[in-house]
């Protein structure tokens, strides 16, 4: 029996589509109910639906053997996992954004205040890559408000189309990382359940390659 942690929402549906394509019976997981654990004894699969940011935690602790979660969450949580496959789902970028006037002038502002939902990614980027210390302001949503209201000079956030940014007079200033959904595996499960997990990885990889051609 393999336990798979899915990120609640659109990513869960896309993951199930991919698994189906790879030849897995996922009818149990499609069931519309309020159950949080969906089990299919015959298929040997148990699905748990978790908040995306909790998926790496379930997998690291071995409460789930496998998980599907965005690279943004993985970067933010920094868990000890095997990150075996790029599923290519939910592609977007993690960016530094701010008023368009700041383009190419970001380095001129000392002691920047940065609004973000991702304090760890932000810290790693500014301290690790850009070698500067910044004041991080942790926010929980509508991050674009921060530079508009003067709470922060810039933000670090996910950018998909960039429409929200442009409509509010903001622009992408720098790219921190490319983001997409990843298949992650618990390090012990990879050993103890290799007979189930390794074939699953190759089947999913094949399904992905088929999709590309």
């Amino acid at each position: 029996m393999l336990t798979i942690a899915l990120s609640k929402g659109r990513l869960a549906d896309q993951t199930l589509d991919l698994m189906e394509k790879a030849g897995y019976d996922v009818t149990a997981a499609r069931e519309k109910s309020r159950k949080l654990i969906l089990e299919d004894q015959d298929a040997g699969l148990r699905f748990i639906l978790a908040k995306p940011s909790d998926v790496p935690t379930y997998v690291e602790y071995g409460a789930a053997d496998i998980g599907v979660v965005g690279k943004d969450t993985l970067l933010e949580e920094g868990r000890q996992l095997y990150e075996v496959l790029d599923l290519g789902l939910g592609r977007c970028r993690m960016c530094v954004a701010g008023p368009a006037a700041l383009k190419d002038k970001l380095d001129d502002i000392p002691n920047k205040r940065v609004g973000t939902k991702y304090p760890n990614i932000t810290r790693n980027y500014f301290e690790g890559v850009k070698k500067e210390s910044v004041e991080i302001i942790k926010l929980n949503g509508s991050v674009e408000l921060a530079p508009l209201t003067g709470l922060a000079e810039v933000i670090v956030d996910i950018v998909e189309s960039g429409r929200t940014l442009y409509e509010n007079g903001l622009d992408v200033l720098e790219t921190v990382a490319d983001i997409s959904a990843r298949l992650v595996v618990n390090r012990v499960s990879m050993k103890m359940k290799a007979d189930e997990i390794k074939p699953m990885i190759s089947k999913l990889r094949e399904a992905l390659e088929e999709g590309e051609t």
Binding site: Y61, G62, L85, R187, V188, K191, M192
Partner: protein
Amino acid sequence: MGNKYYTPDGFTDQLPGVCAFKRELEARLRNLFLMNGYDEIETPGIEYFDVYKSFVAEEELYKFTDGKGRLLCTRYDGTIPVARYAAGRNDTLPIRLSYIENMYRAGQIGGGKQSGFTQAGIELLGASGSKSDAEVLALAIKSALELGLTDLQVSVGQVQFFKGLSRQLGLSGETIAKVKAAISNRDSVTIEKLDLSREDKDTLLMITESGGTYDTIDNMLPRVTDEGAKAALGNIKEILDIMERYGYLKYVSVDLGLIESIDYYTGMVFKGYTYEVGFPVFGGGRYDDVSKTFGKDMAAVGFSISLTLAITALMRQDKFTPAAGATVIVGGDFETAIATAEALRAEGTAAVLDTTGMTEEELDTYAKARGIETIMYMNGGEA
């Protein structure tokens, strides 16, 4: 203050039953280590920060100061204090030491992995070579089996293999770090994107997928030209040969991607896994350079097993048997009761003596609630 009702985050009390079970496991390991010639030592549990600072990230250590303002920290692992101790002495080598002690790690949370936990381990100091490596690995497996962890899988790697291979492929500082991270994450995507020849990429991908025994080494050997990497594979092969003699080959697989371990390892490394816990229950390896920090050049190899994780695994695998407490309670007439209780204890039966003057009925209720099997209610003079 509001915290007086709780234990700090990451720390727990060992409850009766569990504690007794743990002591029993400790006794089994203590005996096993002794039988193999490892002498137990106890380090103080508090060290100067300087002892650990080259080995452990600062935020992982609980720190405070002594009366002179010098920075101290709590014991993080068994290996470093033992290395400090052994390096400071002039014992005839090799020496074999063991420990069973509590470790304290800041910044660890949840999943049965706590900030305070008990580890048992051994260190074989002043001995190099595959035979010494294999002795420690065999004892690690023996320890897990002794605890009842029979569903066991052990990965063995060699850190010199990747070092040698990096030289062979001409990887530079930045790329090495990237490849190392990719291998330890089993991240084939990053490896595919590297600016290397197809053949070299395949070699790196083989590392991430290794997991056999002799076949893994035989498949890798033709691809390796670096002498250090070749020697590393030879080292693993010799270790496998010795595992076969112990009858332990069935537990062991070769994992050349086992390079995420602590940086101080210089040769063989290994980790032991079982079902129902998401973390390795034991780990170890060769760390020939550690004692240099303490002023002595001394080869060394060791392992540690987490009793705390082992107990979690045993509980989840339904192999936990809480050790029995007292089986008899004696009450009623106090003088007769004392004599009876003492007689029972003398012949080896654990007996509780009622010191609160319970009636027979109260004694019965109490015994049921406490899980004590037998009640002896004394009427004055007669048993």
